[in-house]
Amino acid sequence: MSRAAQIADARSRRVGEGGSIAVELVILAPLITVLLAVVVLVGRVEATRADIAGAAHAAARDLSLARDPAAAMGDARALVDATLHVGSSDCLRATLRSSITAAEVRVTVSCEVGLSDVAVLPVPGSMTVSATATEVIDQHRERSVG
């Protein structure tokens, strides 16, 4: 084989290799897409989990500091709504439950995470995550009665 023929042979072989990568890429593109969608899905759920944990702690602290915790629920609700960007796909709807005793405030925040925009995966349209926080009430503080 002449030198020129050898170069031509090597060049054609190189072209052949490149083609096999392209073909595999086409075959595996759906798989990669699904994997990236999983990253987005997991990331969104985890981000919301972190946010609602923070919101639950903030709301519990807010209620525990109020002179009349039961009457401060409106403020706590506004705090949670502002923290969680309620209405965005990070949290479609938020619910806030609290149980207040003489010594403790316990707050549970639940959020419905919108998943419809990662519909490439067979997931339901939304998923509910929740977090609970407990905060002690200062016993030596003046509180309003009744």
């Binding site: 052949g16 595996l28 990669i32 997991v42 702690h57």
Partner: protein, 128 residues
């Protein structure tokens, strides 16, 4: 020759799965750290309100060190955490430890990670 492309794709898949693992388990660890910090703060506050009752009646805020330590440890135990409590004068320092359970990174041999957070609270008298 075709095998080299398969290896490359395998690399991409492994990298993406690792990304899922980092997002999922990294998120779990960060959330546990934030929870541990909140629990440490609440435990320290629970401890810092254990004042000596006879001095409270006189309007003074003096910490009862034994009761403060116990109250903080009780709070930690009730909220799924362990930790250490130091009481020094009017200051309660709580280090809370919580365990983060990993899901994806188990394949590289890490199943549980202990997360620590420290909070300090001072018992003080304020104007009513």
């Amino acid at each position: 020759m075709a095998g080299s492309a398969t290896v490359w794709m395998l690399g991409v898949v492994v990298c993406t799965m690792s990304l899922v693992g980092l997002v999922l388990d990294g998120g779990t660890v960060l959330r546990t750290r934030s929870d541990a910090f909140s629990v440490a703060g609440a435990a320290a506050r629970a401890g810092a309100q254990q004042l000596q009752p006879d001095l409270v009646a006189e309007g003074e805020a003096v910490l009862d060190p034994v009761a403060a330590r116990q109250a903080a440890l009780d709070y930690l135990a009730r909220h799924d955490a362990t930790g250490t409590v130091f009481v020094s004068g009017a200051i309660v320092t709580v280090t809370a430890t919580r365990s983060a359970h990993l899901q994806m990174l188990q394949v590289v041999g890490a199943s549980d990670v202990a997360v620590h957070a420290t909070a300090t609270v001072r018992a003080t008298k304020v104007a009513p």
